[in-house]
Symmetry: D2
Subunit: 433 residues, 4 copies
């Protein structure tokens, strides 16, 4: 045991009236919601990068966190893993997620980086064997090192494409070895800074082929998890190709991958793309590509990704409602892609941020589940579209325009508006929050 979290107890569920900061008031892993344990609904994961690899810098300032594991040696990488699993234990988190670069020191060559990764993967595997937390997903960091500055699979330089292929292979191997439930691709540099030097069509073709080869490799190694694309419209690039869920869908269709790849949706990215979180989830569900979520919140007044811990359960309830409507997660989960503010220096801050986030999600899930079970909301929705259940309406969807037009004239059809009842439905919603 390290002493980083010394004096911090394991977090237990104590109920709504608890005033203990170091307790859950809403997240009871064992509570049965819609026939399933809450833990199995929410499938919380801790993100290695924000909690253990980020030094607290921002574009205008440097490191604020003092962490005993900061540095570039394998010994420090193992210390980091030790502390990480201590935090997973304290939180009772069933999952975690990581990039290669979060967990292993960068080597002087690809081969050395790979050896470092393999060594730390073995170490993480040992940790998993003796702790509760499993791997929700692995991924490759192909955006921080300067070799990626102009893209990974979409780089103008084919050597970078090659390096990316080797990197993703190594991270898929690592994820497979650790029994990961998913493999995620986020393309922060798969985009452009200026159209003036960019061949959009070529870059898209390379990205499509790259993703096909990822799917092929999945089958080759027998990886059973899902492949997930994480949309983001911009930042760090001016424009990123995986702009939002609908854009990703068109891309998948183009390369024949819409049955093979799903999406990992993040609230902050949705907002940057001009969408609500629930919109992105509902769209992915409608298109059959909903996979998992990166849970956080964005500051609505800031124009960049703030990756804050969620703290408004009323807002999150709408998101969980769409997840439940979509049938809940299969391989996916609720990954806290969230970081404590760079002023939140203390080990307690790391723990309590997650406690608050988990409680926020638990409240949201419970409200969403009650509402779905109650069915009043869904009954209102069905009623609004009930006209489409009639035979004449269904038939119309196979008729040509001129036949429908004749009927409009013959029957003097003159549709009358009906109330959309938005405020009533919002009130209904609030009955459950």
């Amino acid at each position: 045991m390290t002493d980083f979290f010394k004096n911090i107890p394991q977090i237990k569920y104590e109920g709504e009236n608890s005033t203990n900061e170091f307790a859950f008031r809403h997240y009871d892993p064992e509570e049965i919601i819609l026939g399933k344990r809450m833990e199995d609904h929410l499938r919380f994961a801790v993100a290695y990068w924000h909690s253990f690899a980020w030094p607290g810098g921002d574009p205008f300032g440097g490191q604020t966190f003092d962490r005993p594991w900061f540095g570039d040696t394998m010994a420090l990488a193992k210390l980091k893993a030790d502390v990480a699993f201590e935090m997973f234990d304290i939180l009772g988190a069933p999952f975690y997620a990581f990039h290669d670069a979060d967990a292993r020191p960068e080597g002087a060559t690809f081969a050395e980086s790979l050896r470092n990764l393999e060594e730390i993967v073995d170490y993480l595997g040992e940790k998993q064997a003796t702790h509760k937390a499993k791997l929700l997903w692995g991924t490759a960091n192909m955006f921080s090192h300067k070799r990626w500055m102009s893209g990974a699979a979409t780089n103008p330089d084919p050597e970078v494409y090659a390096y990316a292929a080797a990197t993703v292979k190594s991270c898929m191997d690592a994820t497979h070895k650790l029994g990961g439930a998913n493999y995620v691709l986020w393309g922060g540099r798969e985009g452009y800074e200026t159209l003036l030097n960019t061949d959009l069509k070529a870059e898209r073709a390379h990205a499509g082929r790259f993703l096909q080869s990822v799917v092929e490799y999945k089958y080759k190694i027998g990886f059973k998890g899902a492949i997930l694309i994480e949309p983001k419209p911009q930042e760090p690039s001016k424009h990123q190709y995986d702009y939002d869920v609908a854009t990703v869908y068109g891309f998948l269709k183009d390369f024949g991958l819409e049955k093979e790849v799903q999406t990992n949706i993040e609230q902050g990215h949705a907002i940057l793309a001009g969408h609500s979180f629930e919109h992105e989830i509902a769209t992915a569900a409608a298109l059959g590509i909903f996979g998992s979520i990166d849970m956080n919140r964005n500051d609505y007044q800031s124009g960049w990704d703030t990756d804050q811990f969620p703290n408004n359960h009323a807002e999150k309830a709408v998101a969980f409602y769409e997840i439940l409507r979509a049938g809940g997660y299969t391989t996916g989960g609720t990954n806290f892609d969230a970081k404590v503010r760079r002023q939140s220096l203390d080990p307690e801050d790391l723990i309590l941020a997650h406690v608050g986030g988990m409680d926020t999600c638990a409240r949201a899930l419970k409200a969403a589940a009650y509402l779905l079970e109650d069915d009043t909301m869904e009954a209102a929705r069905r009623a609004r579209y009930a006209g489409w259940e009639k035979d004449g309406a269904k038939a119309m969807l196979t008729q040509p325009l001129e036949v429908i037009a004749e009927a409009v004239i013959a029957n003097n059809i003159n549709p009358q508006p009906r109330s959309g009842r938005q405020e009533r439905l919002e009130n209904l919603w609030n009955h459950y929050i």
Copy 2:
């Protein structure tokens, strides 16, 4: 002749040094650019709605314009057409564009509205026969009347779908009769106000079927023009399904329409979706769905669609450069979907706004053409991607991940970053503006 534009002369090209407000200084229809007359490159169109149907209202204020043709009679509709063609003549505009509701009075029934439309279409046909302006595109206004408040093809009420089908048929007939070069669909109410009462999946299915039937009807009547979707992310709806070019592409793929339907791209809509205008054009070109443009500008500090006349040729040059790279328009054109400010009350304002817009586009086109012909910019782009021309690089696009990974290790590939030279390319750009 009406006397609305009395004392306003026909606008002629007088060259850069002219100080005559009522002259073109850059737009010379006869000038040959890249082997084609400037008029044939730009294919300018005047929008009937903004210039002749809009009363000057905004969300906080009512009518400011006094126009002798405002009112709901057929006689006034014809007066409006008279004035419109007088304006087309003054500008020498080769095209115009209109919605049914811009041109004809609304009837008490669909049948009456249709008769009104047919009568005014005959009148417009007579006008076309004796004036220069032809129809760039026709379209249906399925957003202003209250029947459309919850959508047209995506309305929860099948009667509205029927009414929409009949309406689009009538507008396609009108466009066909007038020899229109395109038919456009803009879905301002095809979206939602709240997810709480919306069935995303059903609405999408209805929209897809509707568009298929539009394409079928095009072939049935022998309409040779293009069918164009005009993307917009929001406004008036909170979310619109045709969010941006990439979203439209996924939708078209889903319904097998990506070879049948192209896009009509508007700067203001691009900006609301978080894109530059040139991004949307370049994306459409890369996806093979570029059709036409709605030329205007948005105020970058306002969060809604301001539909202002373009006045920055340096900015528009980037857009025209992408259009020229895509091969220029085929059926498409440069439609001024722009309105004079509601404080610009005078007939002169209407004319001069178009003169300024046309000159801005002409300057932009000329700069873009010079730059493309010079090839320095394109040579730099090709050089950046030259590595992909090598056999090894091409072969890599067919290799599995593990083969590439082996090569990375075997050859100790360690890609070195190369300058993206953005500022140099921007300077080069400015040589031509």
Copy 3:
């Protein structure tokens, strides 16, 4: 009694477990919060314009609402007042607010408009005498008629300044006669569309003088209420001079009015200005110019003012917390500057939107009050600044730079960062929501 709201009962408090749509579940006017009746804390007002004067139009569509009182006669204006007071009664609303143009038909001349206003003010006075609702504030609509298109007090045309002066006088008289608690000025056209035709300095000087004369007139007639400026950054104008609270403060200081005029703060306007609602309230409180609020919510993904009814009590609790910290309202109140969506056609929608909004605010107020009473949050805040209570620190605020600098060197001062504990405080917050 009209029959507009027939079958809708008076809304009563039934407690959290009520499933009656037509009941309050949180708003109990009589409940004592921090020693004051909840009704006296919240001071709810209904906005005449959104609920009774708005036809349901938006920039892309016309009227959707059928209201029996729509039209331009005095008889219809009185019918509107009848229905309005019926709604105030149903809701138990203690206040309402109105513009002149909401309540009276526009006349052909100023004198006729004035007579109309005086007649309807008498009618409203009779209504007030026999109903519960009183006037929270009156105001002048100086943005809808085309005479205001280029501003009211800031118009380039001095005749418009004169007309504005006469209009405000008439509305102050009306407000005074009706015993209004405040008089509000919102300058939707006090701004510009383009700097090219604008004299910023002159317009600012005219606005300042105008506001001084409003304050002078207040004293002349013995009006005891507060004069309030309502900030908004833009819409309808590209730029509005009363951009946000801090901007208004500078303006008031410049014209010696910072003790005479306070602010009426709206969530939607705060968001358009890039602020949170609570920021604007806290800033006004810190500057001594907090007056009242316009309660609504903006859609965070829409770039214009959506004026929706509030439905997220967790979000509003932060706002009410700042109001309570500032000592609560004196003359101010919670005015629902909110409109039902244009698809919410039914009389029930109008009522239920307000019920939901009032319950949302009541929950928010209760949470805020508990939190403030508990003092844990405030204790944490005081602790963070406790260093400033020491004599040395206080003294430093009177010392010159060079003296402080000497002490830094002499004492080798090397300040160590301390955690800001943001997530902990957010968790604490959520204990009470």
Copy 4:
């Protein structure tokens, strides 16, 4: 001479038709514009931080630039200064600007940092003596080191206030010694991350007192330059107190500093605050607090400060027009607070980015000057407000509301709207660009 810029010639003016990348095509320092040399109008400055101290990192990636002077020794700091002055010479830049932290290594104590600063200031002084470039302004970096994470003058910890006071004193001394024309304060951490832990009122009071003491110290040491505040609304903080020009004005008024302090206005900051660049300049001019500008451009589709080199002279011309209308700079200048993209790795990129930026500004200045001299635009503006020149109108500004109201009725004043002619003025503008 270092060899960093070897083979790069000094940049000379060669005229519009030059195709030499390494030449000015528009910036001719000696050209007389409105009676003054162009160099004396534009007063270009190079920013030390972006060009010499920034490693190329962004929130998602690390260093991309290899610069021989990167490191923390005094020898490297001097090498950096050598290269910097070589670049100033190549560009013929008359000015530069720097923060303490750009130029000197951080020491282990304040005293050591101060000694390092003094040594490098002496070195810079020697450089200035033998090169053309002078100091436009100095400033203190009070945002990068972790001690500033919660603010400098507004920090909850009085020790940080003390450290800030000592730091600013040292930077004012340095600026004074180097003959700087201005001293700038930018408060990137003078703001908050969350209201929950913030005492707005106290922080504002401390900031006000701090600024007063800066002004007092200026007089004490006999510094003749101007003190400038640089507004920015957010980033890095969620909210910054110096939000925009109008906010700064209110702050200055409150602390009696509006005659003592002016503003340094940046395009990127203006845009983040929801304003155009020209709005901020015109506002500062109207309020009497215009000082200097930080020249750059922001990407309109990115929600953070992109600090790009300007490349659209049409856009910048509007800004220079407002500067010329305000009488031009006195102590201020055009400081390139702009950085090459992190992919622009080469020494040539640094030089050419500045060449392009300088040419863009030169074209903009010339266009603005022609337009101002021509007076057509100003004549139109004066005509629009001409009504206010009449005695009756002037008198009205001293009359009470009731007197004006009587006149409105007595004279049946009914103001008629007049066209604002925005598009005409925009066309006029384009005659000169």
